[in-house]
């Protein structure tokens, strides 16, 4: 039991549970299965993007371009679907486009060694421009019904978006914690020099991470397009990077890299989604929503920090 509390995810899990209880007490509708399903559906886009963001943050980087990548992919997929292409084929093409965007980031970051924040700040602008250019500034909308599969369809009784997010989270959770590739991500984030000496290729690993991040974002984009039903390239996904980064960091990851888990991130995403849903449900004044969200965020960060410093205090040989 004591070990559970030492885990890095402990505070965020605990905090999520407490908040869950508070919302349940305030609003009777919160605990309804429908609503819980709703929360899960709503977090799928941010959730999928946060998986890639977690890996990027594990490297000590940050990706500001995810919102723009989402816009590019959603626009492309939407236009393909409207051009009569099978939604699944369109989604696959979308993933290729996402991978190309990721590769573009990865190229500048891993090969040309330009810091992540600078590269992605630039590509945030560039991809957004490309997305609008592709769309011609018009709404991409009126998708055929078959495209609804990605938002309303079910796989063995589970809504598709939730199934996709769960698959992504479990898959990458496994990769990160159990495979050589995943441990490389942690190792490089923990100590880049040591990783090089141990013969790991930082470039290759980083490049792969950005490609996977691009692909995960494109899956999110497909769900987004199907859920929302109409895409406006200039605003689709704009600002989502902050929500995603906040979710990953609230989930216990460190901006300096090397620290963070899929479990923590999933809870971070869940927490963010719960706040958004809960604040509407508790019928709080609309003007209070942002302030309360920010306050809860800071509270979560404080709790994380307290736990981290307590862990450090128990460091071996504190008498030196």
């Amino acid at each position: 039991m004591a070990n559970i509390f030492k885990r890095r995810e402990a505070p965020i899990i605990l905090f999520t549970i407490v908040l869950f209880c508070i919302f349940s007490l305030i609003s009777s509708n919160f605990l309804k299965p429908d609503n819980l399903g709703l929360i899960l559906t709503q977090i799928t886009t941010t959730g999928l993007i946060s998986i890639g963001m977690l890996m990027v943050i594990l490297f000590g980087g940050i990706d500001l371009s995810v919102g723009s990548v989402l816009a590019v992919v959603a626009t492309v997929v939407g236009m393909l679907v409207n051009a009569g292409i099978n939604p699944f084929v369109a989604a696959l093409i979308g993933m290729v486009v996402g991978a190309i965007c990721g590769a573009f980031n990865g190229l500048f970051i891993a090969w040309f060694n330009i810091p992540e924040i600078i590269t992605t700040l630039a590509t945030m602008f560039i991809f957004r421009g490309i997305a609008v250019a592709i769309s011609g500034g018009e709404w991409v909308t009126n998708f055929p019904d078959s495209f609804n599969f990605f938002s309303q369809g079910k796989i063995i009784g589970i809504p598709v978006p939730i199934a996709l997010f769960a698959t992504g989270a479990i898959m990458f959770g496994y990769i990160l914690s159990q495979t050589r590739f995943g441990r490389r991500v942690y190792a490089i984030g923990g100590n880049k020099e040591a990783a090089k000496l141990a013969g790991m290729s930082t470039r290759k690993t980083k490049f792969l991470v950005y490609i996977s991040s691009g692909m995960l974002t494109s899956v999110a984009a497909v769900i987004y397009a199907s859920q929302v039903g109409s895409i406006q390239a200039s605003t689709a996904g704009s600002g989502i990077e902050f929500t995603v980064i906040a979710a990953v960091l609230v989930g216990g990851a460190s901006i300096f890299g090397g620290v963070g888990t899929m479990l923590g991130t999933a809870f971070g995403v869940l927490l963010m989604g719960m706040i958004k849903n809960g604040l509407v449900l508790t019928q709080a004044s609309v003007y209070w929503v942002d302030a309360t969200t920010g306050f809860i965020l800071i509270l979560a960060i404080i709790i994380n920090t307290v736990q981290r410093s307590r862990n450090l205090a128990s460091r071996e040989g504190d008498l030196v």
Binding site: F125, I255, Y287, A291
Partner: protein, 319 residues
């Protein structure tokens, strides 16, 4: 003896000249833009237009000053836009509820500084990660703005107040004079005083500064208070110039500011950078926007051009 080191020596001795290069590259870039735009638009190189550009960059310029300090010291402040909004509506709210305009101005500055102090407290004193904390305050303070205004812009200020953002002294807009003056003061502070030394040292090796008996917490705290205060100053000029305190004031400005600072050659990981560079970075962004506007280039292409500029201009910042 020390053959290898000497070799490294000769390579690294060029460090100072690299620094000069950064500035000269920026100057050449700015000059290139000026020449290009003046060939493209007859209205570009007019006194009126140049004044315009300078007035337009005051908001970004004012906030870029402390941002340079914050980034050099190895941190980051994403909440400046929200602080600007908060100070702006505080000013409007206080004046609307009967407070003297100048008292309101002072109190708005205090609110800005206090918001910065909140960041500083969490980041400097409690060692929380700057990006995380300021994303949190970004959301929270913007929320506060909406609570105060309920979304309605607050306008109708006395004429004397409009002088700040719209008045001129000897033909030069007052806000531009203030920005230049603050840039100069900040330049002297960072170049010639111990505050500047501490800021650079903090960005390079915080531990060593602490072990030198310097109150690291205080220095870092001050950079964030300064950041809040300057966002407050920017807010005053914003309200005065636009005659209105709107809830969305300053939304998203942090990216513009950080872009300007980075283009100015300040190193994203701290320890290196200069205010001259930041000033040039601000001017480059302002000139680019203005020139492209005059040419009637759509903002969509403008953002793409800005993106490419960042990628190319800042790519020298290898890790």
């Amino acid at each position: 003896m020390n053959l290898v080191k000497e070799e490294v020596n000769t390579r690294l001795k060029r460090l100072p000249s690299i620094k000069i290069n950064t500035i000269s590259i920026l100057v050449i870039l700015l000059a290139g833009l000026l020449i290009f735009f003046s060939t493209q638009s007859p209205y570009f190189l007019t006194t009126l237009n140049i004044t315009n550009v300078l007035v337009q960059v005051t908001t970004i310029g004012l906030i870029a000053i402390p941002m340079t300090y914050v980034i050099i010291s190895g941190a980051m402040d994403l909440s400046v836009g929200s602080i600007l909004g908060l100070s702006a509506v505080t000013l409007g709210f206080l004046y609307e509820s009967g407070t003297n305009i100048w008292v309101s101005v002072v109190l708005a500055l205090v609110v800005g500084a206090l918001a910065g102090a909140l960041n500083g407290l969490l980041i400097a004193r409690y060692k929380m990660q700057a990006i995380v904390v300021t994303i949190g305050t970004l959301v929270m303070l913007r929320g506060l703005v909406y609570i105060i205004t309920k979304g309605k812009p607050i306008s109708g200020y006395p004429d004397s107040f409009y002088f700040l953002g719209q008045g001129k002294v000897l033909g030069i807009p007052f806000s531009v004079i203030v920005m230049m003056a603050l840039f100069s003061i900040a330049y002297i502070l960072i170049k010639k005083t111990r505050i500047g030394r501490y800021t650079y040292a903090l960005g390079n090796n915080e531990e060593a500064v602490r072990y030198s008996g310097i109150n690291v917490v205080k220095v870092r705290f001050l950079t964030f208070v300064m950041s809040g205060l300057f966002a407050g100053i920017a807010a005053i000029f914003y309200v005065s110039r636009y005659a209105s305190a709107q809830a969305s004031a300053g939304d998203g400005i942090e990216l513009d500011v950080i872009t300007a600072v980075l283009i100015g050659g300040t190193h994203i990981f701290g320890g290196r950078g200069s205010l001259v560079g930041t000033f040039l970075g601000v001017l480059i962004i302002g000139t680019l926007r203005n020139g492209l506007n005059l040419m009637g280039v759509s903002v969509l292409f403008q953002t793409v051009i800005l993106g490419v500029l960042i990628l190319v201009a800042v790519s020298r910042q290898n890790k």
